[in-house]
Each structure stands twice: as structure tokens, then as C-alpha cells.
Symmetry: C2
Subunit: 754 residues, 2 copies
């Protein structure tokens, strides 16, 4: 059958560009664009129904929609704040007994009970890990990892179907609690961004019993509005996680969004403020400082005084040096992580293997803890430095084992101690040992099948080597009074994280907001700028790496340079299935069932005679409009071809919006009688009458900019007389990727397969 052939052709053969400057990706599986992922459609279909609706509704309606939109943003902010609080309290509630048990057992254990201690320790780490990885492997695999790459892709315009469900939300919340309670090298901040995004995406699709409100809510049932709410949720997640509303807005802008408007930025900002306000409000109340919103403990890094962060201008080169180190370490980590991810994708494929891997990592974590406490049992610390659950082991009466200090508390507190303790507290050797063990731990944990973020672990690693750097300085300049460990640990933490994730501007704002101190902003910015330069020179960021390895068709900010000589003709797919404006139902059904294309150009019967220069491209007919697969299915489902089908725009629009909210767009479920199949469907009211189209000579950068700035899913390629000759989708563009590696720049053309 012709249609099936076309379909097969569209699937397998993507036209290739012959350019000498292209390096064709080799058959290595790590360089590809996956066909598994569809795009979102941020372009609103302005068909006749929408025009009719606008004509009937006045500006008051727009005002009401605006108010409801703000209310939804407030609700999202509030919910994200409350869920963050729930996670925070759950972790505290579960870790306190855990570390108390371990402390008591260690303290009371001499000689024969070691095995008992060891077993309990293993259980306390491995049981939560088992639960967490079970959720991420067997229940919902989208809840695995930090979820940030998925959020980035979603905001970029890639459809991530299972990323936004209630199931994922629940698994994510439970999973992240388990991972943190287990004490793996895992943070809750990354998952919180994902959680915020889910809440942002789910709230507008809520089923509200009130008819009036639900009629308003219908307005938000499209990809564009949902994306805006999700961006707000993501910002609220960062805002609550770090207590950094402005940082949240900037991170949402810097990392995520391919679109931007002042209005959206402002709505996201509101969302972030509300979320961090409620989180901090309840936290301050919990800490017994109810109403004191600037209470020191509320700051994510702990409040820094100006004295702790005073610096001289001659220290700037030192901070810049640290930034460079951070960039190098970051790039190395990204590289190592890539190897490990590739290894995992090749050898750890089955579910039980993944589960086993998680248990192995948990087991290694326990052994690292046991090893470092007992192998270094004679390195002690005076007891007056806030010992929490630290144990004594072989130390003297008033001292505690320093390694237990690292292992027997949650990582947020550990980080605060690393940032705020005087230089004498942590000596070089214990820091070095912990740095080594912890680095291995987080390397293994990143990419593990459990809901875990990499923010906190990287901040800790950075703070560890930042302190080591400071100790080195103290060794060189023993009498200098400007050597304060806190500021070096802070710069280390910031640059280590920036070396991994490369979102420099938002990170500097987060550092300012999380330390509660602005006087130190300048050195942090200098250091972070250096990190970004060095890091980007060597490799991409960890999220981009993860996205690329999954073959997600993400579009970068700018088109790859030097591609003006590639035209639409070369990149487009020439297999297009068109539909006439008035079409027999059977034909629609056949086209839906036999192809998997997501859009069908609507063509008129072309009676044009092209007398001159016959184009070598076979034209498909005069472009009249565009109709989506989902629209066609909804039309068939609702039997829009029948005479009795209601003609008012409200009913007609609602059937599309309801279908969007319920995500019920399955061809197979369509059941039509033979009589129905012979009826004629008039598409003119439903199709998009002015889809974006380009001529075949248009260059890649122009198409890229259209895609990127308008959030398109597909663009129709027409010939000189406006006849359809092909179609360009997101994947056709995402295949061309700029590859920067150790200062070399090249264009890669990736393969497209599943």
C-alpha cells in the first residue's frame, strides 16, 4: 500500500546532507536522536473556532482568565512549598532515629558486637535504597534520577509523556525521601525541580466540580499554557529547595525555557516567592522562631556574616584559580559520568540488574562509612564543635571520631558545618579521605535508578576541596589573617556545582540568596564565570550530556554556526501525507491507521499549471492549512462529520480541550460503521488556516530560529508556488549538533533511530 510505503520511508530514511565540513557520527550508539520522543506544539492553532470564540467573548473574559491564571500560579507556588516542607520533615523524622541508633550501637559496641552493628547499618542503608529503587525501577522509571534533564527537555518542547503524571509525582516524592534517608550521595534539590514541574503541569488539568470555573480552566488546555505553568512550578521548586526565589526564576530562564516574555517571568517570579515564603514560614515556625522569616537557620547554606566572608582584592586571582579548578574537575566528572552512563546502557539493561546495582551501591556506601570510621578511628575532634551524632570509638573522653561526623548526619547539615566551622576543625587527612570516598560514592549514585539529585553532593565535594585549598593556603601563608575557611569552602562548593551544571548566573544568585550575604557576590561571580569558560571549553554540562545520551531531540539556544548553506530541501522529509479540505471519513481513518505522522497538511485541489522551470521536487498540492493527528482523532471520536453535530464553537472547542486534558487520543479505539465511513468531513473550521511554512531554499538557521522562538513542532516546506513539497520536524533540526570539545568546534550530524 502506498501510504505504508511512505510511512516506512519517513521512518527509516532521513535525508542526508552532503557537506564536506560535516563529520558523520559513527555507529556509536551514543550519538543519535531518538525517534521515541515526540514534540510539543506551542503554536496555538488559530482556527475558525478560536476566532469565533474570541469574537463572542469580550475583554472581561480575558481579565477573568488572567485572574484565574494568577490564582493557579499562586496555588502551584503554595503546593510546591508544602510538598517541599513535607519532604523536609519526612527526612528529618526518619533520619534522626537512624543516626541515633547507629551512634548508640557504635558507642556501646566493643569487640564482639561489630557484626551486629554492621548488619544494622546495612539494613538502615539498604532498606530505604531498596524501596526507593523499587519505585524508580518497577513502578515508574521516569521518577529515576534527578529529573532535571527531563524538565529541561519538556520546557524546550520535547514531549515527555510519563514525566508529568501523578504516579511519577508520588514515586518521586517517596523515592527522594528514601534516597536521602538511606544516606546515599543524593540530594533532594534536583528532584524538587521535577516535582515542581509536575505540580505546575497537573494543576491546570484538575477536574473542578464547579462548572463556571471548569469552563475557564478549559482555556488552559493546551501545550503552551501548560508549559508556562510548568516553568512556574520548576522555579517554585528551586525557590523552595534553596530558599532562592530570584535564583529560581533565573534558573528556569537560564536552563529551561526556550521562550521568554516579561509577563511569564513575572508570573514565575510570583510562583517562586509564594513557594519560598510558605516553606520558610512553616520551617521558622517548626524551629520555634515563628514569624522570624530571616532566622539564620532558614538559609540553605546557613547565614554568613560579613566577617566570615570579608575578602581583599588580591584574593580574586585565588578565587579565579579555584574557578578554573572547578571547571576542570567538573568537566572530568561529566566525562566520567558519561562513561558510566554508556556502560550502564550497555550492560545494566534488565530491571533486576538495575535493582542489584542500586543495592550494590548502597552496600559500598555502608562499607565506605565503616571503613573510614574504623580505619581512622584515632583522628579525633574536640567535642565542643557541635558533634550531633558523632561517636567516640578510640578517641579520648572529650573527643569524637571525625569520620563519624561526616557519616552520621544528613548532608545539608554536613554542608553547613563544612562552610562554617573554623579551620582547626577539619584537618587535611580526614578531608582528603572523605573527599575521595564521597566522590566515588556520588559518581556511582549519579545515574543510579533512584530518585536522587546531584546538587547537594556536588556542593559537598566542592566544600571539601575548597577547605583543602584553604588549608594549603594556610600552610603557605601561616600568618595571614585573611584565610578564612568558610569563603573558600563556599567558592569551592559553587564552582564544583557550576562545573557540573553550568548555569552560572542563576547559581550566583542562588549562592547570594542561600548564604544570606551579598558582599561576597563579586568573587563568586568571577569564580563562576571562569568555571563556565573552562568547563564549556572542554565539554558540555552534565544535563546536556545526559540529554544527548538519551537521544532527546533538544534544540539549543542558537542554530549551529556555519550552516547557512544547508537548506530546507536538504533536511526536510519528503514523505508527506496530505488531506483534502473536504475528505471522506474512510480516507482519514486509513491515513491515521497507516501512518504515524502527527500532522497532515491540508491541500486544495491545485489547478495551477507551472509552465516554467519544473521543479524536481514532487509537489503534493496547494497548501491550505494544517491539521494535527490529535485533532483528526477527536473529530472522528466525536463524529463531527454527522449532520447533527452541534455547530456552535463552544461545544466544538470543548471537545478538543477535554481530549487534551484526558490525553485520550488513540486511533485504535475508534469504531465507525460503514455508513459513517462514507460520510464527508469538512476540515475548514478545524484546521489551522495559516500554518508557518518556508520555501525550499530557506536556510537551516532561519528554520531553526523559527522553531526555537515560536516553539514549533513542524514546519511545512513549500515550493515556489506554495505547493507542499516536504515537512521539517524538530528531529530534522536536532540532528545537527554543534560539538565543542577541548577548544575544537565541529558540526555533527547525528543518526536518527529509536
Amino acid at each position: 500500500m502506498k501510504l505504508q510505503e511512505l510511512n516506512a520511508r519517513g521512518q527509516s530514511s532521513v535525508s542526508t546532507v552532503s557537506s564536506t565540513r560535516l563529520i558523520r557520527a559513527r555507529s556509536k550508539s551514543i550519538n543519535f536522536v531518538s525517534t521515541k520522543y515526540e514534540s510539543l506544539d506551542y503554536d496555538i492553532c488559530e482556527n475558525m473556532l478560536v476566532v469565533d470564540e474570541e469574537r463572542s467573548k469580550g475583554y472581561n473574559y480575558i481579565m477573568q482568565i488572567n485572574i484565574i491564571r494568577y490564582i493557579l500560579f499562586l496555588v502551584i507556588g503554595l503546593l510546591v512549598g508544602l510538598i517541599t516542607l513535607f519532604i523536609d520533615f519526612s527526612i528529618q523524622f526518619l533520619t534522626q532515629p537512624k543516626y541515633r541508633i547507629l551512634r548508640v550501637l557504635t558507642d556501646e559496641c566493643h569487640k564482639h558486637c561489630y557484626i551486629y552493628l554492621y548488619v544494622v547499618w546495612c539494613l538502615l542503608v539498604m532498606v530505604p535504597t531498596a524501596i526507593g529503587s523499587f519505585l524508580a525501577i518497577y513502578v515508574e522509571s521516569e521518577s529515576s534520577g534527578s529529573g532535571v534533564p527531563a524538565v529541561l527537555c519538556y520546557l524546550n518542547g520535547v514531549s515527555m509523556p510519563r514525566m508529568m503524571t501523578l504516579k511519577t509525582l508520588v514515586c518521586k516524592v517517596a523515592g527522594v525521601i528514601c534516597a536521602v534517608v538511606a544516606g546515599l550521595g543524593a540530594g533532594k534539590e534536583g528532584p524538587l525541580i521535577h516535582i515542581g514541574t509536575i505540580i505546575g503541569g497537573l494543576i491546570p488539568s484538575m477536574n473542578i466540580p464547579n462548572r463556571k470555573i471548569s469552563s475557564y480552566m478549559n482555556y488552559f488546555q493546551n501545550d503552551k499554557e501548560r508549559r508556562d505553568f510548568s516553568a512556574g512550578g520548576a522555579a517554585a521548586g528551586v525557590a523552595a529547595a534553596f530558599g532562592a526565589p530570584i535564583g529560581g526564576v533565573l534558573m528556569s530562564l537560564e536552563e529551561g525555557t526556550s521562550f521568554w516574555s516579561v509577563l511569564l517571568m513575572w508570573r514565575i517570579f510570583i510562583c517562586g516567592i509564594i513557594s519560598s515564603f510558605f516553606f520558610n514560614f512553616f520551617l521558622s515556625w517548626h524551629h520555634g522562631h515563628s514569624g522570624k522569616m530571616a532566622y539564620d537557620e532558614l538559609f540553605f547554606f546557613g547565614k554568613f556574616s560579613d566577617a566570615e566572608l570579608r575578602y581583599e582584592v588580591f584574593e580574586l586571582p585565588l578565587f579565579i584559580l579555584m574557578g578554573a579548578i572547578g571547571g576542570l574537575i567538573g568537566a572530568l566528572c561529566v566525562e566520567l559520568n558519561m562513561w558510566l552512563t554508556v556502560f550502564r546502557s550497555r550492560f545494566i539493561k534488565k530491571k533486576w540488574q538495575k535493582f542489584l546495582e542500586a543495592m550494590m551501591v548502597a552496600f559500598i556506601t555502608v562499607n565506605f562509612g565503616v571503613f573510614s570510621i574504623y580505619a581512622m578511628s584515632n583522628v579525633c575532634l574536640p567535642v565542643n564543635y557541635r558533634p550531633d551524632n558523632a561517636v567516640q570509638v578510640n578517641c579520648k573522653e572529650n573527643e569524637v571520631n571525625i569520620q563519624s561526623y561526616f557519616w552520621f548526619q544528613i548532608q545539608e547539615n554536613m554542608l553547613k558545618h563544612l562552610l562554617h566551622s573554623p579551620i582547626a576543625v577539619f584537618q587535611a587527612v580526614p578531608l582528603l579521605v572523605h573527599l575521595l570516598l564521597y566522590s566515588i560514592m556520588i559518581l556511582l549514585t549519579t545515574g543510579l535508578s533512584i530518585s536522587a539529585g546531584l546538587f547537594i553532593p556536588n556542593l559537598i565535594v566542592g566544600a571539601l576541596w575548597g577547605r583543602l585549598f584553604c588549608i594549603g593556603l594556610k600552610y603557605l601563608f601561616p600568618h595571614a589573617d585573611w584565610i578564612i575557611p568558610g569563603k573558600y569552602a563556599l567558592v569551592g562548593a559553587a564552582v564544583q556545582l557550576a562545573g557540573m551544571v553550568r548555569c552560572t548566573i542563576s547559581l550566583s544568585v542562588v549562592v547570594i540568596e542561600a548564604t544570606g550575604n551579598i558582599t561576597f557576590a563579586l568573587p563568586v561571580m568571577f569564580a563562576l564565570a571562569t568555571t563556565k569558560w573552562i568547563g564549556d571549553f572542554i565539554s558540555e554540562g552534565v544535563y546536556e550530556m545526559q540529554i544527548n545520551l538519551r537521544g532527546l531531540p533538544i534544540l539549543p539556544t542558537d542554530p549551529p554556526p556555519l550552516t547557512s548553506n544547508i537548506t530546507a530541501e536538504e533536511i526536510m522529509s519528503t514523505s508527506v501525507v496530505t488531506i483534502p479540505t473536504c475528505v471522506v471519513v474512510a480516507e482519514v481513518l486509513a491515513k491515521l491507521k497507516n501512518t504515524n505522522f502527527h500532522c497532515f497538511p491540508v491541500v486544495g485541489q491545485s489547478t495551477l499549471v507551472n509552465t516554467q522551470d519544473p521543479d524536481f521536487l514532487i509537489p503534493y498540492g496547494q497548501l491550505e492549512g494544517l491539521i494535527l493527528r490529535s485533532q483528526l482523532i477527536v473529530l472522528l471520536m466525536n463524529k463531527a462529520f454527522e449532520e447533527s453535530h452541534p455547530a456552535d464553537f463552544e461545544t466544538r472547542l470543548n471537545m478538543f480541550r477535554k481530549a487534551y486534558a484526558c490525553q485520550q487520543v488513540d486511533v485504535e479505539s475508534l469504531e465507525l460503521t460503514t455508513a459513517e465511513k462514507e460520510m464527508v468531513l469538512d476540515l475548514r473550521a478545524y484546521m489551522n488556516p495559516s500554518p508557518y511554512s518556508v520555501r525550499a531554499v530557506t536556510s537551516l538557521p532561519r528554520i531553526f530560529r523559527l522553531f526555537r522562538s515560536l516553539g514549533l513542532r513542524h514546519i511545512i516546506v513549500v515550493n515556489n508556488v506554495n505547493q507542499v513539497v516536504g515537512i521539517v520536524t524538530r528531529k530534522d533540526l536536532a540532528r545537527f549538533r554543534l560539538w565543542v570539545h577541548r577548544g575544537n568546534m565541529r558540526l555533527k550530524e547525528l543518526r536518527v533511530h529509536s
Copy 2:
């Protein structure tokens, strides 16, 4: 002649839309879009030359261009920092003797010398005002005012020819020094944004003797690159003015740019950091704290300690109330300002009138000062509150006149005192009197023909009523210890400014950065959010108001709502002048001289026979490409039609880039012989082969989004078979303006005239 007719038609009759929901603007001159302003073209013309260039240059070239771009951003940041420093030092250098003379005269004057004092005072205020307004009126009128509206329009894509010249820069710098030294209600911060923008625009067009570097610099000779550098300069201006690099980036984003990319944001950020670093570095050195970059005095608002800004959660409603007051006052100020601007545009048209007005305002300023010092000569202040140049008049030995405290120091210091002094220092009556007089002063000064910003004056007004608010609270709750005047003055200052300019997010960051304190961020954000809501509900911001009054064709972020029923056909101008791909020089010359169109669609000879549905629009021929007026002039100037014209792309591209840098594009200067006029010019290599085009049925929002996100200057409207039928320009879109006023929302269709 037919062409001239067409031209006249294009000028006068803009097609009008017949929609019942439109309210046609009445003949009031304040509702119009001016034809005086052209658009910028941010869309890069990817013609064959550019493709050839890309083909010949490798990725190394791109890398080198990137490095040079960063260097240029660094240079811009550095220069902006240094110029800010120069302005700052000049003001200090000139105001110190001024206020010393006034103090000495006032102190030593009893009875008979009052007239002498009065004359000296008048001279000290009126002479700098005269110089400043002379510069702004007779030398360069673009240097008048804050320049921020011009910057906003430029970044939005409106061509502001004289805004970006060296002359404007010099006048602006000298003018702002004069205005501040005169002691008018004028700040230097707004003009600094303009100054930064000019530097950003000028640097890439510099003439560099080195041939290699200048060949790289050629690359930046287009509107898009220049806009990016200007955005960096604007951010650097804010960064240096307020010591707020992040605030600068956000303000550049929030207020200015219609485009956005992570890469650009990052470059702007670098520019801001460098600018504020160098400014602070030299300032700390000047203050004798060399190397202490976090020295308290460096903060624009003076460093706030946590104790000064501690707050309880129950104060939030108070801050929100202040935000609401700020929104109301702000809207009122905008309204008053609008009346005054309209009054000025009607009755103060001539240059001497403007000059006289400036002198009048200066005279009023002096009289306000004299009046308040002598009328309230018995309101005194203990001398221990940093009296600077305050005088005694009728006060006791250890006291000074409180009003002289307001008048005898520069406004930045005044603001710091208002923010940091204890509550007892300023009593209600002096505050109220100064608030009244100062408000009148800044109302008169805003819009005056002198280079003056409104940031500082509004911050002072806000701080004044913020302190009054605090005194009111103290009266209600005499024993409350949470009533600290500093925080209320700060919130007042922030909301007053936000009520005027409405850039809430960047302003909250600026407040954080300028106070050196983050703990107070939350209340500020809540207050600012309220201000924005209330303010936007009532009126637009002051800059938008000024832009609208000048009829500048700015495009807002989003298309006006409910305009899907307006199509390209209705808004386009149908008078188009097309050019064939190969054209006789005489024809080009005639078309250039007889029309003032800025773009000419290039059409092929259409041999298509449209057998069906003859369109009612007269088609102009098959669209092949687009050529700009400026390109045609350059081609004729360089005699590109001659056989001997060099065929290599480098020479050809350079002729366009040089012409851009020198801005030499005048038709009248073209002199061609009769033989030359008969030659044929082949446009195929020069034209843009794939201009953006839309079909006549495309709706206004779709065209709007294309314009806004791609930075277009014009879009070609084609019919069903890709024949040119019309053209839509920025002004055709800018005519449709959403009008929100006291909660009502309407669409206005503005008239287009000069």
C-alpha cells in the same frame, strides 16, 4: 508618475480594520504612531555572499569571533565603569565647593546680606542648569531626559538614529553632571543606562588601525550584533550606577529586550560584573579602603545590617499596604506627568521656550530651598547627626537647621541619611514639607530639557513618605520595638520607584544588591508585587507613557488579546514596489528616489496562470527574495553593475559592512552617468533569498509573534500562489495597542502620522 502615487498612497492611507470591538482613537494628538521612526532589522540577510563566506571560513573563525566578542563586552563593561566613575568624581568635585560656599554664606549672613546669598544661590543653581539645558536643547536634543525610553525602543527594534552618536554621549555626560550639580530633582542613574547603551553601540563600530582585527570587527557591522552590545552596555550602566550586576542583567531583560538567549544573557552578565567591579574598585581606592570591595560606603543605599532590617511576619501586611500606596502614588505621578508632557508638547515648542522653562524650574528650585530653610528656621536637629554642610540659622549652638540638611548635600547622600538615620532625626513636619516641595520639584524636572533621570528623585520621595509612614506607626504603637525607620524608608523608596517604572523583578534585585542585605528580600518582593498589580491596573508605567506620547512604534511582549479575527489582509499596506531579479540601473535609481520604502520584494516574471478563484488582491509577481533600500544604495555607490566589479564575496560583503559602520546611505549623493544607468544589476547574489512571508489569511497574533521573536522590520504578504500582495511593517502592528485603564481593557487602533 505611478511610483509617486504609490508612495503617497503608502504614506497617507493605512488600511483600517473594521471591527466593532475597536475604539478608534480620536483626533487627540496623544494617541498616534509616528512615521518619523524607522525600524531596525535584526533579521540577518542570509544571501549567497554570506553562504560563500561561511563556506570559506572554518570553525576556527567562529571561535576567534567569539573571543573578540567577549573582549568587546569586557571593554564595554570597563569603559562604562570608568565613565560612571568620571561622572561620580566630577559631581563630587563640583558640589563640595558649591555647598561649602552656600553654608559659609548662610552661616555668616545676618540681615542685610540676604540678597547677596540669594543671588549667589541662584547663580550656583542656574548656571549649571543653563549649561545642561543648552546642551540638551541646542547641541543634541536626544541627550535630553533620562534616555531610558529611547534605550527601551532601541532594544525593542526601533531605529533611533541620533541616540547612539558620540555627540549624544558627550552631551549626556556633561548634561547629567550639570543637572546633578545644579541640585535639580534629577538623578544620574537613568542617563547612565543611556550612556552605557551608547558605549555598547559605538565600540563595535570603532575604527581600528590593525587590519586583521578590523576584518574581524567587520563581522559585527549589523543591527543584531550592535543590539547585543548595546544591551550589554545598558546592563553595565545599571550595574555601575547601583553596584548591581545581576540587577543590571535583569533590568536589561525585563525592560528592554524583545529577544533573549542564554548566551546573550551570559555576555551581558560579564559586562555588568566588569563594569561594577571597576567602578567599585576605584571608588574603594578613592575612599581610602583600597582593595576592600565590600566596604560599606560602596553600597548604593549604604550597607544595611541585619539588625536594621529585622522584621516580623505580621509586618508583611504593612509592607503590602505600602506597596499598594506606592502603586497608587506611582499611577498618579504617571498621570500628572502625562498631563505635563502633553502641555509641554503643545505650548513649549520653541527652543528658547524650553530653555526658559529649564531656567524657571531652576529658579523655583532655589526659592523652594530658601523658603524652606528660612520659613522653618526654628526646626532644628542636634549637631551629632552627621551634619555635612547643614547650617545653623536660628538654631541653638549645638543644633542645625533641618531643612538645610535636605538642601545642602547631593541626593545620593540625602537618600542614605533618610534610610539609615534613627527615627528621632527627622520629624513629621519637616519631612512633610520637604516631601511636598520635592515632589513638585521632580514633577517639574521630569521631562525637562536637560539630561536627568528619575530613579534617585523617586527613591527619595519614597523614602520620605516611608519615614512618615513609620512615624505614623510609632504614633499608633509607641512601645513597639519592631518599628525601625530604615526598613520602612527602604520599602517606601522601592515601591515609589516601582510605581513609576514597573520593572519589579530587577528592582527587587537592585534593592538587595544596593543594600548589601538579602534577609529583607521577601518583604520587598511582596511590596513590589503589590505595587505592580495596583499600578498596572490603573495606568501604564512612566516610560511606556513617554514612549506612547512620542508615538514610538514599540511592540509589547504579547500580541493584543482577541485579535485573531484581524488578518494580514486587513492590516497590510498594499502599495508595494517590487524589483525584478535582474534590473536596469535607471529603474533602481528611479524607485529609490521616488519612494521612501525601505524594502523591495524581488519578484520573478510570473508566468503562472491562476485558473481558479481570481483573488481580489492585485498580485505583484512571484516572490523570489527581498532587497533593502540600504543594500541597493550600496550596490549603486560601489557600481556593482560593472563588469569589473570584484566577484569575491569578501570585497562584496565588506562594502555593505563598511557602509553600515559609516551610516552612509544617501540616495541624493549618487551620481551615475547615462551609460551606467543603462547597465543591468543582477540582484541574485545580494538579495535575501528566503524572506519571511505569510499568507493573506494569517492572523494578527501570528504576525505579531513572528515580528517580536525574530526582530523583523517587515514581512511580505503573499497570496495563495506565493505572489506578493502586500507588506506588513512594524507600524502596522504597533498601531494596535491594548489599553488598560482602571481595570478596563480595550483595543485601540492608533492613527499613523508624523
